[in-house]
Symmetry: C2
Subunit: 339 residues, 2 copies
C-alpha cells in the first residue's frame, strides 16, 4: 500500500513561526469516504495568510495544534465517491500539507484545462484574482491615479502594480530590500519602488509619489500602512488585503492616525477576500488572460520542490525571501508524466 | 460707535483645552470691505471639531495663535458691499467668536426662513445633516440592521439613532454616563444605550447588540472604536465622523485590531464631512422636516447664553456636559425683537 506523508502542526507559534513548529509523519494512504474524493497533491499554495490562520478563526476556521497543516492545493483526483468527480480530474481544494488528502466533494472545485498548472495558483488563480478584485473592485482606479502597493515583489503585489500600469495608473511598490525594488521596477515595470527598511520611508515614498497616493493596496499593515495613510489624497481608497507585518506579533498596535485621517481626507478603507468577488471572476480571468497573451503582464512563480520543504517555504515567505507566487511542488503534473 | 467684542486664542493648547487658552478683547466695530458683508452674530455653533481645528489643518485651515476663534455662525447682515446680500438677510458664515465679523460674501450662505433659528444649526443644519448623510450615504442602513452610535447624547449622535429608528433599524447608543444613557433611551427612544465609562464596555455592548453590529457611527475614535470593531458583523460599515476622544491628546494610538479585522470581516470604514453630500441636501432636508412634523424625531438644543461664555461652552462640550446640539446665543433673533 502506498504510504502518505503528512506535515502536522506540532505546536502553535506564540510569536515568530519557525520550522520547529511542524513535524512530518508517515502513515497509511487514506481512502475516500462517502461523497468524498481522494486528492493527490500536486502544488501547495504558500501564503502569508496561512500564518494568520494559526492565530485563530479568520475568514475560515483556525489551524489547531496537531492538525495536518491546512493549505489551498491543486491536485489530481485518484479516487472518487462522488458523481461530480472522476479519477484524473485536476481540482483545487482546501486540503493540507500531505501527499494525499480525502476531501468532501462539496469543498472541491474542478479546474479548467490550463498549463502550466502553476498559473492556476498565480496569475489566473488566487494571487492574480486577489490583485485584480482588490484593485479594480475595491480600489476603483482611474487612469492617472497613483497606486501604491506593499509587498510589491510578492505574489499579489507583483500583479497589483502590473494591472495598475495596464489601467493607465502610476504604479509604486514598497518592498523589503534594494534588490527587490530593482526587480520590481526593472523586471515588472513599476514606475518606482521604495525599500521599507530605509531610514526614511516617509520621505522616499513622498518622492516616489509627487502627486500623493490615490489607492494604497495594503498587504502588510503596521508602520508601512501608517506611513501611506499620511500621504493619501482626498477621497483616496485603502484596499485592505492582509497584514503580513502583524502575523508574527502577539500584541499589535494600529496606525496612530486612525480614524482622524479618514475623516479629514474622506478616505475609504475596505477589507476583502478574493472569493467575495466570485461573480466578477469570469471578467477577471478574461482580462488577465488577455493581458498575459499580449505580454502586458509577466508571471514569475517561485516553486519550491518537495513536500518536506513546505515548513521552510512558509517561514521563508514570512521573512520575505520569495519573489512572485510561492508554492510547493509535491508531485509532477500528470499530463507531463503521461500517467 | 458700537463696540465689538472678540474672543482670541491666547495660546494653542498642548493637551487639554481650558478657558485660559482664550481671552476676550473689545475693539471698534469693523466695516465691510469690497465684496464683503458685515454680519452680526446671532448663534455660534460649538462643535468638537473646533478643538481639532486647533491641532492643525484638517478639512479646513487651522486655527492659529492670536486668531479670533473660528466658528460656524448664524447671523444677520447689517452692512453689505455685495449685490447678493442686503441688510436684514439671515445668513450662515464661517465667522468667529465675536459680536460682529466682516466676511467675504463668497463665504456667506443665505438661509431659508425657518424658525427657531437654532434648528438651522441642529436638526435642519450641520448636526442633522451630518447624522443623515453619514448614516444614509456612508452607512447604507437596511431595515433590521443594528446601528451603534457613540456620543449618542451629542448633537449628531442623537439624530443618528433617531433616524436609524425611523429607517427600521435597532438603535444602540454609547454615552458617557448612566444619566445620559437613560435620557437617550427614555427621551430619544433608542433601543439601548451603554455607558463607555463602565467597567466592561465590551460585554455591555455585546449584550445590547445580540445580533452584532452592522453600522457603527463613530464620533469618538480611540478605545470605543476598537471595542465596536471587534463586534462588527461581516460586511459591516464604520462611518467615521470624528474622533472626539483624541482631540485633547498629543500622541494618539489607533485601534490595535486594524487593519486585520477589516480583512477578516470585510468591513468598510469611511470618513466624510457633511458638505461632501451637498447634492443630497435637499432630500435630507425634506426627510428631516417631514420626520420632525410627524413627531418621529425630537429636537433638543443646548443653548448657552452670552458670547463671553463661548470658551466654557466648548471646554464643557469636550468634557461631555451637553445634551443635544450646543450653541452660544450672542444676540436675539431679530424677527422676535422686531428690529
Amino acid at each position: 500500500m502506498t504510504r502518505n506523508r503528512q506535515i502536522f502542526v506540532r505546536e502553535l507559534p506564540k510569536a515568530e513561526l519557525s520550522e520547529e513548529h511542524f513535524e512530518m509523519r508517515e502513515g497509511d494512504m487514506p481512502s475516500a469516504g462517502d461523497n468524498e474524493v481522494l486528492v493527490r497533491t500536486i502544488l501547495i499554495s504558500i501564503d502569508a495568510a496561512n500564518r494568520a490562520w494559526m492565530k485563530g478563526p479568520t475568514y475560515r476556521k483556525a489551524v489547531k495544534e496537531r492538525d495536518v497543516m491546512h493549505a489551498y492545493c491543486i491536485g489530481e483526483v485518484v479516487e472518487s465517491n462522488d458523481g461530480a468527480f472522476k479519477t484524473g480530474d485536476i481540482v483545487a481544494a482546501e486540503a493540507g500539507w500531505a501527499d494525499y488528502s480525502a476531501v468532501a466533494a462539496a469543498d472541491v472545485q474542478k479546474l479548467p484545462d490550463i498549463r502550466p498548472l502553476s498559473h492556476l495558483l498565480s496569475v489566473l488563480g488566487i494571487a492574480g484574482k486577489t490583485a485584480y478584485h482588490g484593485l479594480v473592485g475595491i480600489g476603483q482606479p482611474r487612469a492617472g491615479n497613483t497606486v501604491v502597493v506593499s509587498a510589491a515583489a510578492g505574489s499579489v503585489g507583483m500583479y497589483v502594480g502590473q494591472i495598475a500600469k495596464v489601467l493607465g495608473c502610476r504604479a509604486v511598490g514598497i518592498a523589503g530590500s534594494a534588490e527587490k525594488c530593482d526587480w520590481v521596477t526593472g523586471e515588472l515595470g513599476f514606475d518606482a519602488c521604495v525599500n521599507h527598511r530605509s531610514d526614511n520611508l516617509f520621505r522616499e515614498l513622498k518622492a516616489a509619489c509627487p502627486d500623493g497616493i490615490d489607492i494604497y493596496f495594503d498587504n502588510v499593515g503596521g508602520a508601512v500602512l501608517e506611513t501611506a495613510l499620511f500621504q493619501m489624497n482626498m477621497k483616496g481608497r485603502i484596499v485592505c488585503c492582509g497584514a503580513a507585518s502583524q502575523y508574527d506579533i502577539e500584541d499589535t498596535t494600529g496606525p496612530r492616525n486612525l480614524p482622524g485621517i479618514l475623516v479629514v481626507k474622506r478616505l475609504r478603507m475596505e477589507g476583502f477576500i478574493y472569493f467575495d468577488f466570485a461573480k466578477q471572476d469570469e471578467k477577471a480571468e478574461q482580462n488577465l488572460s488577455t493581458w498575459l497573451e499580449e505580454g502586458k503582464i509577466k508571471v514569475v512563480d517561485d516553486i519550491v520542490g518537495g513536500l518536506e520543504n513546505a515548513p521552510h517555504a512558509l517561514v521563508g515567505l514570512l521573512a520575505g525571501e520569495n519573489r512572485g507566487k510561492r508554492m510547493v511542488r509535491v508531485a509532477p503534473d500528470p499530463a507531463k508524466t503521461g500517467r
